[in-house]
Assembly symmetry: C2
């Protein structure tokens, strides 16, 4: 066995992460051994233990490739006029999120995080989900608060309730789809549900 060049080594690292994604998704994190991952990448545990300290470290690196905070999605849309249309900002950010999730890597890793792993080592998936939820809900409250001040939000529904409502709906859709992505397209159904929900919460046209 010859020593690999630096780029080759980086490639095997990526290959190991790819393999981890696939095996984790199929067998679950707890039930997959490091040897299964290594062999799925045509490597040995030696390679794996060289690139990562242990399974938790590998898992952490796997997550690192798909960070997707809600605020980034909004910024990525990059439309400055959205400041005056917060409901549209929410809509476009969610659509961006849906598109991201249709990429296999994003879908797989999130499915693993949410449906195919338990606590182990220093990894606490529920804490991570909590962080994600907190971040998203906080952002939503800001945008809905802005919408309320602009009179875009139906009176009688507070920004907090609007945010909790939408976050619950999005979260439910998210979990549901990640459980079996072949049943429906997250982009299609997500767009439909999101639009109707926003329509329901929008201020009715006066006059």
């Amino acid at each position: 066995m010859a020593r690999r060049t630096k780029t080759e080594a980086a490639a095997t690292r990526e290959a190991l992460l790819d393999a981890a994604e696939e095996v984790f998704l199929e067998k679950g994190v707890a039930r997959t051994s490091l040897e299964q991952i290594a062999r799925h990448a045509d490597m040995t545990r030696g390679a794996l233990y060289w690139h990562f300290r242990n399974k938790a470290d590998l898992f952490h690196a796997m997550l690192q490739r798909v960070r997707m905070p809600f605020q980034e999605l909004v910024e990525e849309v990059g439309d400055p006029s959205l400041v005056e249309r917060p409901l549209e900002a929410i809509r476009l950010a969610c659509l961006k999120g849906f598109e991201r999730l249709e990429q296999p890597r994003y879908r797989r890793v999130h499915a693993i995080l949410i449906h195919h792993c338990e606590v182990f080592g220093d990894i606490d998936p529920l804490a991570m989900q909590n962080e994600m939820a907190e971040e998203a809900c906080g952002a939503l409250i800001d945008y809905f608060g802005c919408a309320a001040r602009l009179g875009h939000l139906r009176p009688g529904i507070s920004p907090e309730v609007a945010a909790e409502l939408l976050q619950a709906m999005l979260g439910g859709l998210f979990h549901d789809w990640l459980r079996n992505h072949e049943r429906f397209s997250i982009l299609e159904r997500g767009t439909l549900l999101l639009d109707t929900q926003l329509q329901l919460m929008r201020s009715p046209p006066s006059g």
Copy 2:
């Protein structure tokens, strides 16, 4: 060690199931050994292997104690006038569900099923969740279809979309709460979100 009477044996079986609930919830299903469960019930693996074939069998028995199909919740309300008020039937069934979930046993077992276990043996938690979701969604479509025919559902929103919307919201709330039940009361927030959502989807008063 003396042999126990039949009722004592049934009690130890329940104690083992109780212990399984607690340890599963704390450590996750995959990371808890049968010995940990047995010792947490002040028993040995001998007792566990006598009452259950293996961990999967124990898990299955644990689930059996908290079956809660959506239709049963509606029937349990037992108000015959609900046939003419399908939206109210949905509401009351959900409230019944919320109340159930506040009982520690129901909360724990569902939290385990959804957040603290992976596939193992012949246990596929995602398939179980799929079944639950299918059943609930089917029932919701029926009720919303009935509501639409009675003119109770806001025009422009189909029964299917209404059902998917509500199911996504309820599911999101469900998952969110089960992740950390101390953050809020499922009954309180659930009632609030459910009522506002149903209010939004209800047909506006004509005239």
